[in-house]
């Protein structure tokens, strides 16, 4: 019993490290086991980085939402819609600047609607963002009647998709930029502090003069906008807007955040943990494909690794 009580608090500490340990473990395992299959090649590592970029970017922002004790299920749909609006803007020949503005604005607006409904109308965020998940993807399907919108704009494709700068994929650069911004925002600014306070004890935060409603609105807008960016990156990478982009991403994103040590109950958040969590899942997926497993086997093994990673981290802590 006492161990139960104290575990409750100790959770915090294991959560802070487990994902790093698990990641290193997974990485070393694949490096050895798949040494012949090219796991450790620069090319493969870059492709892991590219494939996880969108999830990581959305997850960094989601860390804020979850830190306030809320949730956002609409990120995948927002990404899809933003990919569509960006692609349509480019198709209309309005240029890259307009396209970027439109793409980000799409995310911003969805985030703002989510945020207002959660913080002002006080509807549970699960319901709000689930509804928005439907509406967003519905609109993304509907604007072109499910047709994909090709992107032929080379600069756009370079900057938001397949470009390399000094050998580093632009997608990785975007990931790093957002991760750094997220880290600083959460750990070094009053806004981050207020976010954690809002999630830690909303009443107390309110009483300390923190406008918790505004904080919640802001984190939803941030997440919406980052989902918009992720959508633009999907569009750049696949050279098209398509309404199916990002389907199911909400679960991957939330998993990355939780794996990274952020608590669904709010009040605790780790951007670095989130980034590692996201990359770890990407690495496992990559490794399992390289091992030549079936989809079914991949699913089974991924699930087991997730559980083991967390369990193992716990055990090593309580000794």
């Amino acid at each position: 019993m006492p161990s139960k009580m104290s575990n409750f608090f100790r959770n915090m500490s294991w959560r802070n490290y487990i994902v790093y340990i698990a990641f290193i473990f997974v990485f070393i395992f694949f490096s050895i086991y798949l040494s012949d299959a090219g796991f450790l090649t620069a090319g493969n590592l870059m492709s892991i980085a590219r494939q996880t970029a969108m999830i990581t970017i959305m997850a960094v922002a989601m860390t804020f939402v979850i830190s306030t004790g809320e949730i956002d299920l609409s990120v995948g749909s927002t990404a899809a819609l933003s990919a569509m609006t960006t692609a349509l803007t480019l198709q209309a020949g309005m240029g890259i600047v307009a396209a970027v503005i439109v793409g980000l604005a799409t995310g911003f607006i969805i985030g703002a609607i989510n945020g207002l409904l959660v913080s002002k109308v006080l509807i549970p965020s699960f319901l709000v963002t689930l509804a928005m998940m439907e509406v967003g993807r519905g609109i993304a399907m509907w604007i072109t009647g499910t047709a994909p919108v090709p992107i032929l704009h080379d600069t756009y494709i370079f900057l938001f998709g397949s470009g390399d700068i000094l050998g580093i994929p632009v997608l990785l650069i975007w990931t790093i930029i957002i991760a750094v911004i997220g880290f600083i925002l959460l750990n070094k600014t009053p806004f981050g502090r207020q976010t954690l306070a809002t999630g830690g004890n909303e009443k107390a935060a309110l009483f300390t003069g923190i406008k918790t409603a505004r904080i919640k609105l802001s984190v939803f807008i941030f997440t919406g906008t980052m989902a918009g960016l992720a959508g633009m990156l999907y569009a750049g990478r696949l050279e098209a807007g398509r309404y199916t982009f990002g389907q199911g991403d909400e679960l991957s994103v939330i998993t990355a955040v939780i794996l990274g040590g952020t608590s669904l109950a709010g009040g605790v958040g780790s951007v670095i943990g989130t980034v590692i969590g996201s990359i770890m899942i990407g690495t496992i997926n990559n490794g399992l494909i390289l091992m030549g497993l079936d989809v079914s086997q991949q699913m089974i093994v991924l699930g087991i690794i997730l559980i083991l990673a967390v369990t193992f981290g716990k055990k090593s802590k309580s000794t």
Binding site: A37, G43, S47, P150, Q247, D294, V295
Partner: protein, 366 residues
């Protein structure tokens, strides 16, 4: 779709009561000679869709019936489904048949079953549908049959269903033939030798299964110097990129690749670009906008086997008309597979979609 409908008559396509007069056939540009390689669900030989026709009188008779129809797709979110629905809707409109609802099963058997049950509340005369799974969706279709609905299938038939008794006919896109075409094009481009990878659909799904089977069989039997070195499965279309890039990591010396349909092929293209494998040759099936742009721009995709979904829709509508009239319908009709390479891209686009290729594709051709 309107443009160059292959109908022998004139008429508007305003909504409401149709004032179309004339006979209805599928596009005459489709060759009647192409061999249909898929076999019917009962092993029957295919009847070519080109032989179907509703005469002017028959059309008129149907128009007077004020019939209604429902379309239950397995999935409605791609170019193929959209073209098929357009073909159906346009043809039904000519026949004066109101389409009550188009449902999207989103690849879920239970959703599709619920969809069908629901639209039966509107008592349609005709149901055109592609079952998500022939084994587990029989129940809903049986209910439709019991209620006297004329059922026409696309591509596949629920288990235990008998043509004539339970359903009118099934119109197939000749997926097998498309798999063969994809193999042939890839083999030609590779000079009949080299190592290739196959990205297949890791699911028990009739249509995609046939394609891969045809592709692999063709390569193995006809091209002994081509070696299928890597095989990886995808569960969802979004997996194209991650699977392709892992494949390229492991076997960086692949010369060619076959991807089971166009959407994952787009992801594979992204992976190939990142890996810098510019001379990789890829074939796939279905002429989506983005793969068409890649073909036009002389990218990695060297060609593909295309279905003719619009015409398939037209054929299905015609067969529904047969059934309404009590006219004997062939039990298995196939719309031929079409070989698409850069040379015939613009023409086949029109054949596939019944409209001109979009400007993005055309501009890349120049």
């Amino acid at each position: 779709g309107s443009g160059n409908d292959s109908t022998n008559g004139e008429g508007g396509s305003e909504s409401g009561d149709t004032n179309f007069t004339g006979s209805i056939k599928i596009n005459e540009n489709i060759s009647e000679e192409v061999e249909i390689k898929s076999e019917g669900p009962k092993g029957e030989v295919a009847t070519s869709a080109t032989s179907l026709e509703l005469t002017e009188e028959e059309v008129k008779e149907i128009q007077e019936g004020d019939y209604t129809a429902a379309i239950a797709m397995h999935y409605a979110g791609n170019d193929w489904a959209r073209a098929q629905i357009e073909g159906l809707e346009a043809t039904f409109e000519k026949m004066g048949i109101e389409v009550l609802a188009v449902t999207d099963g989103q690849f879920s058997v239970e959703k599709q079953m619920a969809d069908i049950e629901t639209i039966l509340a509107r008592q349609p005369d005709i149901l055109v549908s592609i079952p998500v799974d022939p084994v587990s969706s029989a129940g809903a279709y049986r209910q439709a049959v019991q209620e006297g609905v004329h059922v026409v299938f696309m591509d596949n038939v629920p288990e235990g269903f008998e043509p004539g008794d339970d359903y009118v006919s099934v119109v197939s896109a000749d997926n097998y033939g498309n798999g063969v075409l994809a193999a042939e094009i890839l083999a030609e481009e590779l000079g009949e030798e080299g190592d290739i990878g196959v990205i297949y659909h890791d699911a028990d799904f009739f249509v995609t299964g046939q394609r891969v089977e045809a592709f692999e069989k063709t390569i193995e039997e006809n091209y002994p110097n081509i070696n299928i070195q890597a095989r990886n499965g995808i569960a969802n279309p979004e997996d194209g990129e991650s699977v392709a890039s892992a494949m390229l990591t492991k076997d960086s010396d692949l010369d060619g690749m076959f991807v089971v349909w166009d959407v994952p092929a787009e992801g594979a293209l992204a992976a190939i670009r990142s890996a810098g494998q510019d001379d990789m040759k890829v074939t796939t099936i279905d002429l989506g906008t983005n793969v068409a742009i890649d073909i036009a721009g002389e990218g990695n995709i060297v060609g593909l086997g295309a279905q003719l979904p619009y015409e398939q829709g037209v054929a299905e509508a015609i067969l529904a008309g047969y059934s309404l009239l009590g006219k004997e319908a062939p039990s298995y009709v196939a719309v031929p597979a079409t070989r698409v390479t850069r040379d015939n891209l613009l023409e086949t686009w029109e054949l596939v979609y019944n409209q001109e290729a979009p400007s993005e594709v055309k501009s890349k051709m120049e």
